[in-house]
Assembly symmetry: C2
């Protein structure tokens, strides 16, 4: 690890899997791992205040360089003191490079070895992103962790397409590392994570790990697993990549997912997660609970005076009934989305707290059974 401000240490190993519990140190504080990062795409976790996130147990957030570059612009965020100050979050932040968004949200018009040209999803304007410009944008935003700019092939993709995208990702990583070094980002408190690609092909994943870990980086990510694959494909990719990554660096599985996905990945040695599930589900009135996912619009909750989840310690479960939540959801009240988002975020963090404790006690397998047995998900 090349800068004193960053560090990762493992303090417990699960005897029955590759799972580990550790601490990822960043300039803005420590992250106990395994950890879940709520997604604050446009410099806000939809509907929640920073103080509420803290109270729910959030330690690190993800924001999207792609969205922030388009609006309000990275230079403006820099001018206003950087992303932490702009959004009022003084804990660690990771910015996604935009690779995933360019290939999923935007209307891609051209891609070559130099970079990608696309049309903004906001106003159709032509935008060019290259590895160097992505690193420059993220340097302006000033998150604790910047992600390399990768090519994330959209599905369906055959082996040749995945192989080409993976090799391009490796060439782009060279340029990201170089630009990151030229800008002196790490000494100014920003680490770079490389991204392993390779689709659901085990040998491509293994080769990608080899290529990406040739660079001595603060952390490594497994990418390209939230673009529509089956759960089996994701697991195959994670199995092929995660255990091969350096044991003394944090491993981040991008864009995943649900409680079952977490257990699958943690058992392969993954430390960090992000996903829109808790926030997006909250806005569509779906709640993750200890008895599975509930849709709060359902008529069966009309007269239900009980809490959303009796085993949850979030503000929503402490104060409100399912009947009230159903009323708010049916009426289209903002508070329904706010309360259900709070609950879902807390549910994910509380799950990770239990996972870390279980790894410490060597009882991850038992926890998996307890958590996943009653869930429909």
């Amino acid at each position: 690890m090349s800068a004193a401000t960053f560090g990762f240490s493992v303090h417990a190993l699960d005897p029955g899997s590759q799972a580990r519990a550790g601490v990822f140190r960043t300039p803005h504080g420590e992250v106990q791992t395994p950890a879940f990062m709520p997604v604050g795409t446009r410099a806000t976790v939809k509907g929640l205040l920073p103080e509420q996130l803290r109270a729910l147990g959030t330690s690190m957030l993800l924001c999207n360089a792609y969205h922030l570059q388009l609006r309000p612009g990275a230079a403006l965020v820099r001018e206003l003191g950087g992303l932490h100050r702009f959004m009022g979050w003084d804990g660690p932040i990771l910015t996604d490079s935009g690779g995933f968004q360019v290939f999923s949200l935007a209307q891609l018009s051209a891609i070559d070895d130099r970079g990608a040209t696309f049309h903004s999803h906001i106003d159709g304007q032509t935008v060019r992103v290259e590895p160097e410009s992505s690193i420059e944008c993220q340097a302006l935003l000033g998150a604790d962790v910047a992600m390399a700019f990768d090519q994330c092939p959209a599905l369906p993709a055959d082996r040749t397409q995945v192989e080409q995208a993976t090799e391009r990702t490796h060439r782009w990583l060279e340029r990201c590392v170089l630009r990151h070094r030229e800008l002196g980002c790490e000494s100014r408190g920003q680490a770079l994570f490389g991204i392993v690609q390779g689709g659901a092909f085990e040998d491509l994943r293994a080769r990608s790990v080899e290529a990406v870990t040739r660079h001595d980086l603060v952390g490594y990510a497994v990418g390209g697993v939230s673009v529509g694959e089956s759960r089996e494909d994701v697991l195959r990719a994670v199995r092929a990549a995660a255990p091969r990554l350096p044991k003394d660096r944090p491993r981040y599985l991008m864009g995943v997912g649900t409680p079952r996905d977490f257990f699958d990945a943690i058992e392969q040695g993954i430390d960090l997660f992000d996903c829109v599930t808790p926030t997006r589900h909250g806005r569509t009135h779906q709640a993750f609970t200890s008895t599975g996912v509930l849709n709060l619009r359902q008529a069966r909750f009309e007269r239900d005076s009980g809490p959303l989840d009796a085993s949850c310690d979030c503000p929503c479960c402490a104060q409100f009934s399912r009947a009230y939540l159903r009323h708010l959801a049916r009426a289209g009240e903002m508070l329904a989305a706010i309360l259900l988002t709070q609950h879902n975020v807390r549910f994910f963090h509380a799950l990770m707290e239990r996972v870390r404790a279980a790894i410490g006690r060597g009882q991850l397998a038992q926890l998996r059974q307890t958590v996943l047995a009653p869930a429909a998900d």
Copy 2:
């Protein structure tokens, strides 16, 4: 005052006007007056949690019997422990009877001396409301204060129409008082306020005060002033009604308004207000500030690193820049509405705090000048 659980005492009189500062005691706590009640139409102040309202200085809320009767239903709210428990607010609540909503929101199909028949604004269903059923509905909801069911003539209305509606309101009040007594509401902790009508006609307002105050009620309201009148008409109505109401009872001006309206009415002896302005303005990204109303979507705030209002102590002003608020507003992020609503509600409460202090010092006129001079509103 007929029940020990309710009380009103005046502890300061402004030497230059009819303004007074006092305390309105209810079964769920005290309200320092003059006071502003945020509107929680459907058992939620849009976007805010009860604990946030408390922190902003809210002491009493208004909810709408009309909306709650249609959805989720007053009997259901009762079954779930009543409105306070349902919405997690343990402070005082007042429910509007539905008179105003029936004549403004709903598609009115018939009105006679027995009551009104209308079509629900939600699903078009035919609904019948009479004075007795309105009181029964409010008794089920269980707020601290129920409002009489009145006829609120929509504008334009000529003198004959206003006179007829006012006299019907008086006849309906008799029936409201009777039903309220039959149900034993006051001994169960619910007061009834009568409503003075009379449009912008001074003599009709004076006659209405006489008719309404024939009933010994815990408080009295001035209604029919937020249906599209000019500021001058509202002021004329308030001038004709408020000073004639009993000095030892709280006086409530319904559905008003803006800082200037508050000063106008407080000077006539009004103690309580409610209005959707702070919450609705918040959702449309308009902020009440010490320098007037600001539209946060405007380009001039793009690079503005200053707080929304430097003289405000709300969480929004303490933590975020105008540039961030503008970014959130343009991006359509929920947090823009949440933060601007918090700010606006705090602005209204802080204004009332200053008003109460100024009345105590005998300096209301000076405060009026200080507050209204820089404002465009």
